[in-house]
């Protein structure tokens, strides 16, 4: 089964100029009267792209997502969405965090329907969309259950369905599977890749797990070197859109990518000395 809300392109070409969905220019951000957490950050996320932000804990990766969601303002520089500065809460994004933000008093179906209900989508459309997404993420049988009755993996899938159902222009994910066991996480990686591929969803994914980043993303930006931190390295992951996250680690070349990411991550832990671009 596929979900196609957007035009299905065959294979996103890296060379073809694509629309920039999210962009920061010379962005610096910090909290309170403490020094900048991130400074001089220039990054771009193109439509249809899956970008992972990889970095050690506390390096400011999640801060970038909060900027994109409009929950935070930069100290300096520009943060653009679709070419325009973000001024308020950005409702063109979907945001899935490590936290369980399902509303506990709503059933799974009602939770997944919530964004569409708040967007005043006609009832019948909502019903169609909800059952489509529940089926796609293998949650039909859980439609009438409350979040407290679900396993961790099912809750994650319900959250994924809720974040994607309104076809946001950009899906922000902040270590969404960190609390799951390895097997469940692998399953959800496959689910996510499948969902993202069939909807051509643009994703900005934060993780500190380099294998997760390599398995999922088309492009990995390594964040760190702070404070203040920034983008210390950038990698293009070549395995294409129809990859299977479960078998990808056994493909040729994957180990080399892992090693390069590992080295970049190690460099990201030491304060920035402007050693390389």
């Amino acid at each position: 089964m596929t979900i196609s809300t957007k035009e299905t392109a065959t294979s996103p070409q890296a060379t073809e100029p694509r629309r920039v969905v999210f962009e920061t220019r010379g962005m610096a951000v910090g909290f309170g009267d403490r020094p900048d957490v991130l400074a001089d950050v220039d990054l771009k996320v193109h439509a249809g792209e899956f970008v992972a932000l990889l970095g050690p804990s506390g390096c400011g990766k999640s801060t970038i997502l909060n900027l994109a969601a409009g929950l935070l303002r930069p100290r300096r520089g520009e943060v653009l969405f679709d070419g325009r500065p973000i001024t308020g809460v950005n409702t063109s994004v979907g945001y899935m965090t490590q936290d369980d933000t399902l509303l506990p008093w709503r059933t799974v179906a009602a939770n997944v329907a919530l964004p569409l209900r708040m967007r005043k989508v006609p009832k019948q459309r909502i019903q169609q969309e909800v059952s489509r997404y529940l089926a796609f993420l293998d949650l039909q049988h859980a439609a009438g259950l409350y979040p407290a009755q679900l396993s961790g993996g099912m809750r994650r899938r319900a959250l994924l369905a809720r974040s994607m159902i309104y076809a946001p222009e950009l899906l922000l994910m902040d270590e969404p599977f960190a609390a799951l066991d390895a097997q469940m996480r692998q399953q959800l990686h496959a689910d996510l890749r499948r969902a993202v591929h069939s909807t051509q969803q643009t994703v900005l994914f934060v993780t500190h797990d380099l294998t997760e980043a390599a398995v999922l993303a088309d492009r990995v930006l390594v964040i760190g070197g702070g404070p203040p931190g920034g983008v210390v390295a950038e990698f293009t992951i070549p395995f294409g859109a129809e990859r299977d996250p479960a078998t990808l680690p056994y493909e040729d070349g994957f180990a080399r990518i892992q090693q390069e990411l590992q080295e970049a991550l190690t460099r990201a832990r030491v304060p920035k000395q402007k050693e390389e671009e």
Binding site: T91, Y95, T97, T101, W105, H141, A148, Q149, L150
Partner: protein, 286 residues
Amino acid sequence: MSVSTTVTEPDKTTTDSAAPATAPQPRRSRARWRPRLHHFVQLCVIVVLLASWELSAGRLIDDLLTSRPSEVFPTFWSWVVSGELLYHASSTFKDAFLGLLAGGGLGLVVGCVLGQSQWLARVCEPFITAFYTMPKHALIPLFIMWVGIGSELRVLTAAAIVFFLVFYNTFFGIRDVSKNLVDSVRVMGGTAFDVLFRVMLPSALIWVFAALKLAVPQAIVGVVVAEMLAGDRGLGFLVAMHAGTFNSDGTFAAIFALLIVGFLVDRLMNLVTRRALLWKNNDTTA
């Protein structure tokens, strides 16, 4: 804070205690009532208490002061038959209910407003705490001065008590709402209205129901105390009147009526709470 001790923390319910359900579990149907050992023991306790009361009255203790079950229950029954009990009990109930409605409604609104605004909350906090800890029954003489000794007095007393309980819990309930939950709804396209009605109020509901579980019996206490101090009807009036004339049968019968009322009201509140917080209860099937 004393009110919050009765509240179980909302987040704890979502910890992964539930087995991964593979099919929609049937709603916990009310199991058919069967007598158990503890019911039998409870019955024994009642029988022993009543028997020792009956036997000691007039022998060990002066039955002018304690009366005896064989006289209390006929008195009680005569009130049931004559409709006197219904008249007084319904007066008490009506006033308690109106007080609950007025005090609870106001408490909910004020709690929501103050819970939303950090600044207002900071300004009002000491005043609220001062009023919260003050025994509201001490205001009854003042209320008598203001509204006389009619139904208004009893409603006002109940409302004053209920207001603080409901307000306090709503206030903390709203403050307790996870910021992540609010942010996630705002990013999904939720307006301030959505946030209030789809996130804030439902989250606060656990706290509000905990408050109501206290507030409903307290509303009755307020009305009964007001009835005892002033007025011409109600179960509190019955107790005070009979005690005032050294009629211990009547006093005990009226107290018995209060006992039943309190018990029934508590059971009713449990039922209502369980229905309203269904989502919360069905992870820990007791």
